[in-house]
Amino acid sequence: MGIAAEALKDFKGFNPKKLPEVEPLSPGHRACQGCGEILALRQVLKALGENVIVASATGCMEIVTSPFPQTAWRVPWIHVAFENAAAVISGVESAYKALNRKGRINQPDVVFLAYGGDGGTADIGLQALSGALERGHNFIYVCLDNEAYMNTGIQRSSSTPYGAMTTTSPPGKKSIGQRTWKKNVAYIAAAHGIPYVATASPAFALDLMNKVKKAAMIPGPAYLHIYSPCPTGWRHETDLAIEVARLAVQSKVFPLYEVIDGKWILSRKIAKPKPVSEYFKVQRRFRHLTEKDIEEIQRRVDEEYEELLRRCAMSGEPEKKEAEEAKED
């Protein structure tokens, strides 16, 4: 049995009828109306409880939660810079390891969380993240992926999906918008051979919170890639964040899965997928795309999903059916 499987032997998921009341991330922060990212972050923190130390990368979630002298954090929180949340949490975790061992503190059960946006994770922070994963610190890294540099005004990142409009990937006579395919950081994290990797979505809150809980129970590094709709940057209505997040999963654009001890497990099989066009329709960042463009994107989304299914099949783990999962949510 692998490290993660061993740690998860007695895992109990959250009960949909009785969720934790604790809110380590308090209301009163300054996130935009309808922000999907802050919802995701709130779910992460609810799942972790209060015995946690958080390191934040520079980005939306840092800015909106910490304008001095206010703070939305009821747990210890540190922001240092854009690209180094994983390195900072490496230091915090190492300090706790040393101080506990030397008997100067007695707090062996603290959970260490680092989070960043897609810019701070897929681009400038990838090196520090890779280093921390490789060194095996006992921490959780959460990428809150809103698919562009939203905090600085919607510039493209390597996590921006192909064809999307941003202020530095504008569509024009000679450009479709973002010209490259989205970088798959969850696959990159999994390639480090760490015990736990998962994707999650705030539209599937129980699934997300259970994955966070698993990540906290497993010793060693865990990586969670969380889809985080951004009404401001994606140009969708502010009441649609959860709807957009759900469509991304249902259209196979953002499939939910786990990699536990290297075994790939689909969190929900999409038996009757919705077309990508339906997901695109509710957002104005894709509205310049032609039918032919969308067909091409649909083809590649299907291919990638098949590839994911192959990985899961090779790992020989049972797939959960959509219906079963729906009951839980």
Partner: protein, 391 residues
């Protein structure tokens, strides 16, 4: 009791950091700093030092890890040089602004390009505005003493600033010298256990590093400025305590044969020992030359420096880095500003010497003193010269 040993300076530096009972060491290799963290990793591997040795993937992460560890209440250490310092510089600003008592040894080395691994002070000078306290060693014994002093100053509740101990790359890091190493008891008597006033602790949650809007940023910087200036008396006090316990004395500005000197050489770092030999030689020839050595680079001890320079007729400031400034190296710019502020105006000539490992010899110092004396006598304009350039 401590012991006198023949030891490579880098090994001695690592030994004393180990004696300080550090909790977290973050390390990335860069020449000529490598022997320091190599030996620390050995001390940890052999169980002589109970610390987390975090072999990070870059100097940027080394400083980031130190920041996280220090914020969590650990005593931390890292070491760097040159390009490595340049990479971590961003986080060095944050370490000082967050008031974290990190200690770092900088094995001074030239910056690219052209790539050059040898000694000058480009990295030390680049670090001058980061808000770190910076001391400078001239020999191996001083490296050991200043590292011990660094923790004492950094962790003093009146200071809470990171400290950089500068030692010249190769000319110090790779030399085997006789060094008096204190023992654990002696270190503990001088350096109390680190008790952080605040730390990242779920039982007492605090927000570190929040956003500083325009209404608070200036005030935060003013507070930092006050902390830096307020550190000077604490630094001196810690040296006085050091002298009481160990018998070796240190001062922000130190002098050698300055009594009645008309021409003063001003140096920083290990080249000062060569300058002393030059001063001995010139004094024997009846020339009125003395030497001033800057021990403390940040906070800049302007008053103390002006006090020793004010009686001289001329000062030859020896810089070991470029500033592309008003015909002045970084040290000389600062010296002139200090003199102007205090209404003192000796003749100042600036020499840029020893870049990228070029030797600075006794003869070079004699030349600098003679040229300065000549310039003063002939009323030549003050300015600077990059010495020994092959045209």
């Amino acid at each position: 009791m401590g012991k006198r040993v023949g030891m490579e300076v880098s090994i001695a530096a690592a030994e004393v950091v180990g004696l300080c009972d550090v909790d977290v060491i973050a390390a990335y290799p860069i020449t000529p700093q490598t022997h320091i963290v190599e030996h620390l990793s050995e001390l940890v591997a052999d169980g002589h030092l109970d610390a987390e040795f975090v072999p990070v993937e870059s100097e940027h992460s080394a400083m980031s890890t130190c920041v996280g560890a220090a914020a969590a209440g650990a005593r931390t250490f890292t070491s760097t040089s040159s390009q490595g310092y340049a990479l971590m510089a961003e986080i060095c600003y944050i370490a000082s602004s967050l008031r974290l008592p990190i200690v770092m040894a900088v094995a001074n080395r030239a910056l690219s390009a052209p790539i050059n691994i040898w000694n000058d002070h480009s990295d030390m000078m680049m670090a001058r505005d980061t808000g770190w306290i910076q001391t400078v060693a001239e020999n191996g014994q001083e490296v050991v003493d200043l590292l011990l002093h660094a923790y004492r100053v950094a962790e003093d509740p009146r200071v809470l600033l990171p400290v950089m101990v500068n030692l010249d790359g190769f000319t110090l890091t790779h030399m085997i010298e006789p060094i008096w190493l204190p023992d654990k008891d002696e270190v503990q008597r001088y350096l109390p256990p680190y008790k952080p006033q605040i730390r990242l602790d779920p039982r007492n949650p605090m927000t570190f590093g929040p956003v500083g809007m325009p209404e608070v940023y200036t005030e935060a910087k003013k507070a930092q400025d006050e902390a830096m200036n307020g550190a000077l008396p604490v630094i001196v006090e810690a040296w006085q305590e050091f002298e009481k316990q160990f018998g070796r004395s240190y001062h922000p500005v130190e002098t050698y044969k300055t009594e009645g000197a008309e021409i003063l050489l001003l140096t920083v770092g290990s080249v000062s020992e060569t300058a002393m030999t030059a001063v001995d030689k010139m004094r024997a020839q009846g020339r009125n030359v003395g030497l001033v050595r800057l021990r403390l680079w940040r906070p800049f001890p302007a008053k103390e420096l002006v006090n020793v320079l004010k009686t001289a007729k001329a000062v030859a400031v020896v810089d070991r880095a470029m500033a592309f400034s008003t015909r002045s190296g970084p040290l000389c710019t600062e010296v002139k500003a200090a003199l102007y502020d205090h209404g003192v105006s000796p003749y100042v000539q600036n020499y840029i010497a020893g870049l990228g490992g070029r030797d600075v010899t006794v003869e070079d110092f004699e030349m600098m003193a003679a040229k300065t004396s000549d310039g003063l006598a002939k009323g030549l304009p003050m300015g600077y010269e990059i010495v020994n350039v092959r045209e």
